[in-house]
Amino acid sequence: MNDVDSILRSFPDAKRDSLIPILQAVQESQGFLSREAVVRISRHLKMPASKIYGVATFYNQFRFQAKGQYHIMLCRGTACHVKGSAKLQEIICKQLKIQPGQTTRDGFFSLEVVACIGACGLAPVISINGEFYSSMTPDKVSALLDNFKQKATSHEGN
């Protein structure tokens, strides 16, 4: 939380128009927007927390849970959509029991849906912790998640 305070100090006399830059800076440093962070920002800007939450949920870029050990980015751009990314999203959400923007309860996975990842030639594409997985199919993505889950649990066992 000290980070949040130091970020807020770098926005002295900030008004409500600084809200989005502040939210971005906090997410950059913390990985997500926690309740505590929102409370601090609300005190700093003298803005109700419900307003801040309203603004933050308007944009896809903000998340309210810490990222998982494996952060999945699912591309929902045009090319990926045509090649079946909607189905991939369904499979991921079902298998991990989370919605976009959420993190699994064990903390292993988090899912973020992005408009276009910029790799249309590899469609449909997902990235996990920055690494790209191309030409995904429902079976491939499901196996991939199993694989990572195994990795995470065995890692935890050590």
Binding site: R35, V38, V39, S42, P48, A49, S50, K51, I52, Y53, G54, T57, F58, Y59, F64
Partner: protein, 573 residues
């Protein structure tokens, strides 16, 4: 003055006003869903669109200014078609369960659908999966029925200065919710219910205890008693189609007995009791230099507000319980023991104009030894529904008196129902307590009326007492900030959470028309004008209660039963 033509009639308008307001004055009604008269236009619902000659598209009349010679058609086929389509689109993902909806007969959306001739579902869509928020003791929120007009958000922010709710998410996923979409009970919501009052649909309704009350009434082991608040008797008539501003206190007593309550008490009695304690507390604080200004404590939404937003002012709030809770305490203690009744058998109900009273009754401070002073709270609206359910013909009842020993009231206690009333009542008694003489005249004109903030300086003995009255919590905020900055030097401040006071409480008959409020207020002041006893310290039953049981104001027993304490609430604000 501007002249314009509406529906081929010539009408007058003032420079700068909106088409809607000019039309309203001319008796032409254009429907709205998102418009709030006292606030700036929002222009979100588009239901108020009209045709203006020379303009290509339809014009939202709520936010478009009049101009000279303007030619308007308010109900042309094109305008009507647009309105109908808007309502049909709103209904596309609205639940079809009007039959089971709390707002059924009072739903604005349903009324509009009927008015505009919507006979079938034209647009279908998959309903969004919403959770009903049952977390609050006062308010139930069902986002599935929300049409996103935004009135609740605006009232909460602009009138109440609370901002517990806001629009969250985007596009088709938009809902109205609290920060982090949690339950209202953990938000900064103060339970005032102004959102319930203004909601056009069943998305926001009160949490009802009527079922529980019916069960208690039917239970031979329990003795059900009831009290009714000062503001209920001047609004209940509206629920039965009578004109606003009629005092039906006597009929109300009769109706409550018909419902099966063994004893019917008047909360105005304990309002007098509150004044005895509160005026004594004020006199004590003035004499001893205790924390001043002192704030009134009878509006439970205001109490929660200060606990959340201004914890450094908690010492300034009078420690007096509200009249509801004072009467609850004396019923279960004095009344029970004097009549040889086991307090556990008493089921104590109150009829209140208020949703926050439900919250107040559930506060742990209001249940000494775990036994609540008040068991259930119903609103004016819920009471009317109970009366209808039991088949009682309200208009043919003969007036009856309230029961003793808590049935007598001064008109000062009755004034609690309007903004400024508690202050006026307290000044009358404080004047007597401090000087031994009556305040002359007893009427404090500066504190009457519907303005959001009123101030006065009243001479008591050789002291000029500066007082302020605010209603609507955004106005309370302004007073608190002025006190903090040293801009206002005050001795005593009355705050009512709802704009206009309890006559406009969140539990009153659905309305937002200022003329109705004025009629309700006028009824209370008329009661005061005609009353033989206008001051709380002349209430003989209150005097007897002190003599036989309580001792003296601020005494040991008063302290134990009639006073309470507050604490800082750390909620997300």
């Amino acid at each position: 003055m501007i002249t314009l033509h509406a529906n081929n009639r010539t009408i007058q308008a003032q420079e700068g006003e909106t088409i809607l307001s000019a039309l309203k004055r001319a008796g032409i009604s254009v429907p709205t869903l998102c418009h709030i008269e006292s606030l700036l236009p929002d222009g979100a619902c588009r239901l108020c669109v009209v045709e203006v000659e020379g303009q290509r598209g339809l014009i939202p009349s709520c936010s478009y200014p009049v101009s000279d010679g303007m030619k308007i058609q308010t109900h042309s086929p094109r305008a009507l078609r647009a309105r109908k389509t808007i309502v049909e689109l709103l209904l596309a993902n609205h639940p079809d369960d009007c039959m089971y909806c709390h707002r059924n007969d009072s739903c604005r959306l349903r009324a509009l659908a009927a008015e505009l001739g919507v006979q079938q579902r034209r647009f279908g869509s998959t309903p969004v999966d919403h959770k009903i928020d049952l977390s609050s003791p006062s308010i139930i929120r069902d986002p599935a029925k929300c049409i996103l007009c935004g009135k609740c958000v605006r009232v909460c922010e602009e009138i109440q200065g609370v901002s517990a709710i806001n629009f969250i998410n985007r596009g088709s996923k938009t809902v109205v919710g609290t920060a982090f979409n949690e339950g209202l009970n953990v938000s900064s919501c103060v339970n005032c219910g102004q959102c319930v009052m203004i909601c056009p649909t069943g998305a926001l309704v009160e949490r009802s205890q009527a079922e529980e009350i019916r069960a208690a009434l039917a239970d031979p082991e329990r003795i059900a008693v009831i009290q009714h608040a000062p503001a209920v008797s001047v609004t209940l008539a509206e629920e039965f189609g009578l004109k606003p501003g009629q005092d039906v206190a006597g009929i109300l007593n009769a109706a409550l007995r018909r419902l099966g309550f063994k004893r019917v008490f008047d909360t105005s009695f304990s309002a007098d009791l509150t004044i005895m304690e509160e005026a004594s507390e004020l006199a004590h604080r003035i004499r001893t230099g205790g924390p001043l200004p002192m704030f009134t404590s009878c509006s439970p939404a205001w109490v929660k507000f200060i606990e959340e937003f201004y914890p450094d002012f908690i010492d300034h709030v009078s420690t007096c319980k509200s009249p509801q809770q004072m009467l609850g305490a004396v019923i279960k203690n004095f009344y029970a023991s004097r009549n040889g009744i086991d307090p556990a058998r008493i089921y104590s109900v109150s009829v209140m104009p208020c949703l926050a009273k439900k919250f107040e009754a559930s506060r742990p401070e209001m249940a000494p030894d775990g036994r609540p002073d008040i068991d259930a709270v119903i609103t004016t609206r819920e009471l009317a529904a109970m009366i209808r359910m039991q088949g009682i013909d309200f208009t043919s009842l003969e007036p009856e008196e309230a029961d003793h020993p808590f049935g007598e009231r001064s008109s000062a206690g009755k004034l609690f129902g309007a903004t400024g009333g508690v202050m006026e009542a307290a000044l009358r008694t404080a004047h007597f307590l401090l000087t031994g003489r009556e305040l002359d005249p007893p009427k404090v004109t500066a504190l009457r009326g519907l303005s959001g903030i009123k101030t006065a300086t009243v001479r008591i003995g050789d002291l000029d007492v500066n007082v302020a009255v605010a209603s609507g919590l955004a106005n309370a905020r302004q007073i608190l900030d002025d006190i903090r900055s040293g801009e206002r030097q005050l001795h005593f401040v009355e705050i009512m959470s709802c704009p206009g006071g309890c006559i406009a409480g969140g539990g009153q008959p659905y309305q937002t028309d200022p003329d109705r409020l004025r009629a309700r207020m006028a009824a209370l002041y008329e009661i005061d004008r005609q009353a033989p006893v206008q001051t709380s310290h002349r209430n003989e039953e209150v005097a007897r209660l002190y003599e036989e049981f309580l001792g003296e104001p601020l005494g040991e027993r008063s302290h134990e039963l009639l006073h309470t304490h507050y604490h800082h609430r750390d909620v997300m604000q």
